[in-house]
Structures are given as C-alpha cells and as structure tokens.
C-alpha cells in the first residue's frame, strides 16, 4: 500500500453531527460490512439496481477524462447513483460529471464524513450534498484518514455498486483493491483498456486479462445497468456542422495537438480556427486542457 505519504489536506466543517443510518441494502448478502453508516445529505436507496461505482487513478489522463465525458453524455437524466471515493483525479471527475448529468452521486470517505478530504474539493462536497446525494463513511465524525482506512473505504464503494467501472489504474493502486472487493462480492466489473506500456493502464489491462468485462462503449455499460438508449458512441463527423469542423475532429481523433499544430494539420489559418474552436467548445464537441485540444 502506498497511501497517505506526505501532507493530508483536512478541513473541518462546523456543523451538526452526521446522521447514523443502517447500511443500505445492496445486491446480495455481503459479509464484513459495517452495520451503520455516518451520512451527510440524503442517502438514496436502490443501490442494487442503480449503483454505478467509478474508480481510477488520481492522476487522470485526458484519455480517462474523455471516457468519463462520453459516458456521462449518455447517462444524462438516467437517475443512476454514481458511487466514488471523493479523492482528486478520477473520483472528482466522476462526481463532477455525475452532477452535471443530473445523476445522484454518493461519496464514500476514508475518514469521518465531516472532514473534507482532500480540502481542494470543498465546493464539490457542498454540491454533492445539495444535489440530493450524500457523503458517507463508516468512521465517526472527526476520524482522520489513515493508510488503512482507504482499503476499508474501497470495499464500501464495491459493495454499493451494481457495476464497477475502473477507468485507469496502476498495478498496486486502490482501484485494484476496489476491483478485488467487487469481484469478491460478485459485482460486474468493467475495465477500460489502455496502452500496454503505460503504467496507469497496467491495472485495468490486467483486470481485463483476468476476466473483467472490457469497456468499449457506453452502450455496453448501459445495457448492464438496464438502460436502453440507441446511441452508443458520439459520432464526431456527424456532429460536425461543416467541412472545417469535421477536419478538426478527424485530426483530434488521432492525436491531441496544440493550437499551432492543429492549425498546420488542418490547414486552417489561426484567426479562422479561433472562431471555429470556440464554437465547437460551446457545442461541447471538443475541450481544451493545458493548451492542448481533445475531442469529446
């Protein structure tokens, strides 16, 4: 285990003590789970049908963001319960996108749920509670995160999920622990395949090799969750309004260029490209991170 080295960001909220509720029913009898949970917000019901666990690396790559964006584009207003672990990276993106798509989201904390950890997610914490979701923990208020509380937290994420999606994970990561518990509890695991030479995809590729379902499109996961929608992949070229937009999209499918490269690859001069890019960003076709453009 390699959790917890370095500084832990902790932020206390001065508020009434958390509610204590009986551990919600989830798919199948599961041993070794706590009897009660501490809850802030409203704990939804129906984890056995609607629980979707999402875990992954704290250092999420643009590839991982793209997978999540596409997934939640189709999960809009599906009333799923998105369960994740509130830490930076994949977990935060999962909560954010879930809120954006109108899903209920539940954050499972490795500490007392009055502690915002990491503290950079203060705003997210408030929005999860305000959005009808909940922040839950098996630890009492004021309990600080320790190395050993993270794997315990992970087993709760696994238990509350009907389906677990592992976006990116290195071999010894917490996501692999969550996947281990999920398979122990008999949950369906979807693993997003990646580059075999990349450390952050080594775990997900290993899961796939060991028999997890290989995640290829949102449709697969939606079938498993019992949602019927026809589209399964955003087809970039049909979304484009004109020739120049489709040229940009076809370049972005291959690689992630910066502005200068995009301009020279598509042959569109800078001043014109600016306008097209902003329009495409407003249409949610592409997005920019760190000066580099990605297709959605």
């Amino acid at each position: 285990m390699f959790y917890g080295a370095g500084i832990i960001f902790v932020y206390m909220i001065n508020a009434a003590p958390s509610d204590i509720v009986v551990f919600p029913s989830c798919g199948g009898p599961v041993k070794g789970l706590p009897e009660n949970l501490y809850v802030r917000g409203t704990l939804p019901t129906g984890f056995s049908e609607k629980g979707l666990g999402i875990v992954g690396s704290r250092r999420i790559s643009p590839y991982g963001i793209r997978v999540l964006r596409e997934l939640f584009y189709f999960l809009k207003d599906t009333e799923l319960i998105v369960v994740s672990g509130f830490t930076a990276g994949t977990d935060s993106y999962a909560h954010e996108f879930a809120l954006g798509a109108g899903c209920i989201t539940v954050a499972v904390m490795p500490c007392g749920c009055d502690i915002v950890h990491p503290s950079t997610n203060k705003e997210l914490y408030k929005r999860i509670v305000r959005g009808g979701g909940a922040v839950v923990s098996e630890f009492e208020d004021g309990f600080k995160p320790r190395k050993w509380t993270y794997p315990k937290r992970n087993r709760i994420i696994a238990a509350l999920s009907k389906v677990l999606l592992v976006v990116e994970a290195s071999l010894n990561s917490g996501s692999m622990i969550t996947a281990y518990f999920a398979s122990k509890y008999g949950r369906k695991i979807f693993s997003v395949p990646g580059d075999i030479y990349t450390e952050r995809s080594a775990g997900t590729n290993k899961l796939a090799a060991e028999g997890a379902e290989i995640y290829l499109s949102p449709g697969q996961l939606m079938n498993e969750m019992g949602i019927n929608k026809e589209e399964t992949r955003r087809n970039g070229t049909t979304a484009a309004d004109d020739d120049r937009e489709s040229r940009i999209l076809s370049v972005l499918k291959e690689k992630s260029p910066d502005f200068d490269d995009l301009s020279s690859e598509t042959g569109i001069p800078g001043p014109v490209l600016n306008k097209i890019i902003v329009e495409m960003m407003l249409k949610n076709l592409i997005f920019e991170k760190g000066g580099v453009y990605y297709v959605l």
Binding site: D258, S264, E279
Partner: protein
C-alpha cells in the same frame, strides 16, 4: 533681519512646497542654528556653504543666524536645498527684507558652483504656474516644460553669478531656459532582434503581440526549455516607442528609484529574481521598488509560482491601480507603477508537465500545491493566458529563425495598433485598451451581431465574472485594432475568449 525664499522637496512622486526662512540677530554668539530638519547632516552642509561663500569671494555673515525649514520634519538633510539657503543668507545679509516668491533648488559644492540636479524634472506639468515667480535651478539640470506655461526658468552655474544678478542687478551670465525644455531625451533602445528570431511558437508570439499592443498582462505556461523567457526578453524589443510624456515619466520613475539618468532606458525591462521581497518589488514609503522601475515598460516575473505568495498577492492592487500608495509621516506618498506584467511558469514543480517527450514525475498533490501558489484572483488579472509547448511542428521544420529585416512586420503592426488606440483613447487620458474604464467599455467596444451572441453563450457556458467579460472585451478590441477593424467581429472575440483563463471543470 528676516528673509524667506521658496524651495521644494520630492515626496513620493509629488512636489511639496518648502519655505526657507533665515533670521540674522544683531546680538548673540556667532553661529548658525538649523530648525525644522530631522537629525541629519545639517552642520556639515552649513560648513560647506560657508566654504562656498569664501571661495566665491562672498562674505558669510559672522552673526547669530537661524535657518528654519517649514513645514518641519519633511526633510532630513539639506543636500538639495543648499542653494536656497545660501541665497537667503546672501540676500538677508545684503539688506533685502521680507522675502521673495522666487523658487530656488539645488545643492552647492565647496568651490561655490551649483550641483546639477535631476529632481528638477518634477517641476513640470503646471505645478509651478501662477504659484511662484521665477525658478532658479543649477545649470545642466533636467527640466521639461511640457505645457509651456509662462514660468521663467533660469539656470545658474555658480553662487557668484547668483550674487551678481541679485545684488548688483547684473544679468550677464543668465541663461533663459525656456528654450532648453526637452534638453534631455534618453536614447531609444531595443533596435535589434524581434520575435521572428524565435523558433516556432506562433500561438505564443501572437498572444504576446496582442499583449504588447494593448498592454494586456500575459501569463505564459509551459514545460521548461520551450522559450518562454526568450520570448519575454524579445517583447521588450517589440515595445512601441513611447510618447514624450512617457519618456519623461520613465525618467522620473528612474530618478525616484535612484537610478543614474544615463542608465534610464525608454523601454524598462525588469526581471526580479524569485527571492525578491515585498519591499524591493513593490517598494516602501521611502524607496520605490521594481514595480516603479518597470513603469511604462515590462515587469517580467519568471517562474512566477516560485515567488513568495505574499509578494504575489501584494501585486494585485498595484496591477489594478497602476500605482503604489503609502502614507508616510502625514504625507501621502505615491509611486507610479504602470507596467506590463509578463509572467512565465512551468505547469508543475518538476517543470515537465505538458512536455510531449519527457515524463513529469509530480503526483496530483504536488501539482495541486504548486497551482495553489497562484490563486484565482491573481490569475484573473491576466488578460491573456497562453501555453508555450515548444513542440510545434513549425519549429522542427524551420532550421533557423526567420530572417527579419530592418522593418519587422510585427513591430509595424504593433505600432499601428498603438497609434489607433492613442487616438481613440486620448480624451480619456489613457493610451492602451487595457485601461478602458468600466463605464466606457460598451461604447468603445462595438460588437457585431454574431459576436454579441457568441459572448452571451460563452458567459453562460463558463460562468465568467463581470471583470472577465470586461477584460475579454478589451482584449478583443485590441485584436480588432491589430487588423484596423472598427467593429469587433466574432472571430476577434473568439480569439480573446481562447486566451481567457477559464475554469476547465465541466
């Protein structure tokens, strides 16, 4: 016997009146007593004046004298007012009474010659008109008379000349100084080199061109070794030539900071080290700092995240006000600080995040901690955010930087955009689009139909603050000016939106 002359002292960048009063008593032990001055080297100054008198063949009165400086406590040494003190002693001793509305300024050396001063440049802008009679300053002093007010300025070379003029009424060595305004204009530097010498990075060059044209603060982010610092250095060379007023202001700022006049350049480029303290970057009531040295020029903060957070935060109000204000011992002190801020930084602590071929070793927590050093409200003060990737295909194709001839096209483009802005904004008293005040922004930045709908969509998509919208409009105005367009088109606005620091969470 009592006599009073007038002089002044520079507090901050403002001129404060001083009265020098000399009283000679007919009784008492002969000595000179100085009042109204805080501590300091008064005795030595008086000794020097005594020597100067004797070397000029003038008689120093051997009586009990009191020299009073009013208001009291403003100055701590007599170095800059030795000339007015000498003159009042001379005049009171020669039998003149009550005083004069003439103003004297300058120091005296022991041979009796007047020491040229640079601080006299602060006496322009109509400060003196109608308030004083004649102005007497040492020969070779710097004096600019922008407004050509009807003030008579005389330059004198020695105490002996002054005595001849005042006592014998003999004006033979006087220099009528009205014709000598603008006697000093610093050389325009930065002739050689421009962006065109830097490889690739078309996007960053474009962003800097807009930044320089409209005086928009710019932040360049990118992995190490991609040319951020080089681009910033070159931008000093791309700076448009300042007006005479700008040149005077730059000279004044340099003098305030104690810079020798010959070292003042027309495009200041200041690059403080990351260890700089608040006092030396912003300044203190007694001494202005780097921000003032960068007045009307560039303040370049390299590795911006590594500056002390306190120092970075103290920059915020300076960026907004374009000056630094203190209050020192009852006197408001203000220093000019209207600089173009160019920031450069890596994306993470190790400096490799975002580099294509090199792997960054920082973890998410490190990157968060690093980014926290530049808070959102400071980032918001950058009108333009650009990424310098350095991996551009263009750079790998070109073997050398483009040859740039005597007239650089980019510099010409900047020059044109600047003159358009100066014409348009002259009545507001500003020269650049970045200074457009809130109440005039909608009048000056006319949006074409589809541009205003694009702006509305952007605001709702990214949840931009009012300040952000104001800044986007100002930047798009500059982009339109670079193309000499009267209205802002959707393409201009789109480019400005691209440069804006946006929240990239969904």
């Amino acid at each position: 016997m009592y006599y009073k002359v007038r002089s002044f002292v520079i507090k901050g960048s403002t001129v404060v009146d001083l009265d020098i009063e000399v009283t000679i008593s007919s009784r008492g032990i002969p000595r000179v007593e100085v009042t109204g001055v805080k501590g300091g080297e008064c005795v030595k100054s008086i000794r020097k004046i005594r020597t100067a008198f004797s070397n000029s063949g003038l008689e120093f009165p051997n009586k009990k004298m009191n020299v009073n400086v009013y208001p009291a406590g403003l100055i701590s040494d007599l170095a800059d007012i030795e000339f007015p003190i000498s003159m009042s002693i001379l005049l009171v001793h020669s039998g003149s009474v009550s005083g004069t509305s003439d103003l004297f300024y300058g120091g005296v050396d022991s041979a009796g010659y007047l020491v040229p001063s640079v601080k006299t440049i602060f006496m322009d802008d109509g400060w003196a008109s109608g308030r004083i009679g004649r102005l007497f300053i040492p020969d070779k002093s710097y004096y600019f008379n922008e407004k050509k007010n009807d003030l008579n300025v005389y330059k004198l070379s020695s105490l002996g000349d002054a005595a001849k003029f005042f006592i014998k009424g003999n004006g033979m060595t006087l220099i009528e100084s009205q014709s000598l305004s603008h006697s000093y204009v610093p050389e325009i530097r930065g002739g050689a080199g421009c962006f065109c010498n830097v490889l690739g990075n078309a996007r960053a060059k474009r962003a800097l061109t807009i930044s320089i044209s409209g005086h928009h603060n710019i932040l360049m982010l990118g992995p190490s070794g991609t040319g951020k610092s080089l681009l910033a250095e070159k931008s000093a060379r791309m700076f448009p030539a300042g007006t005479t007023k700008d040149v005077v202001e730059i000279l004044k700022a340099g003098v305030l900071c104690g810079l020798p006049v010959e070292n003042v350049v027309t495009t200041p480029f200041r690059r403080p080290h990351i260890s700089v303290s608040e006092g030396s970057l912003i300044g203190s009531p007694r001494m202005p700092g780097e921000a003032t040295l960068g007045h009307k020029g560039i303040l370049f903060l390299d590795e911006m995240h590594l500056f002390r957070p306190k120092v970075l935060n103290s920059l915020k109000t300076v960026i907004d006000l374009k000056k630094i204000e203190f209050h020192n011992e009852g006197v408001p002190v203000s220093y000019p600080a209207d600089f173009l801020l160019i920031g450069a930084a890596n994306n993470c602590m190790c400096g490799l995040l975002g580099a294509e071929d090199r792997q960054c070793k920082c973890n998410g927590k490190d990157i968060n901690t690093y980014n926290m050093r530049m808070n959102a409200s400071l980032l918001e003060r950058f009108d333009i955010l650009t990424y310098v990737s350095g991996s551009s295909l263009e750079a790998s194709r070109l073997k050398n930087g483009e040859e740039c001839h005597a007239t650089c096209p980019v510099r010409e483009q900047i020059g044109k955009a600047v003159s358009i802005q100066r014409n348009r904004l002259a009545h507001l008293g500003i020269s650049y689009n970045s200074g457009i005040p809130y109440n005039s922004i909608n009048r000056i930045c006319n949006l074409e139909g589809d541009a205003s709908s694009l702006l509305e969509m952007t605001v709702s998509r990214y949840g931009l603050s009012t300040r952000a919208v104001h800044r986007i409009l100002a930047v798009s105005r500059t982009i339109a000016d670079l193309e000499n367009a009267s209205e802002i088109s959707a393409a201009h606005l789109a480019e400005a939106v691209q440069y804006r620091v946006k929240n990239d969470k969904p």
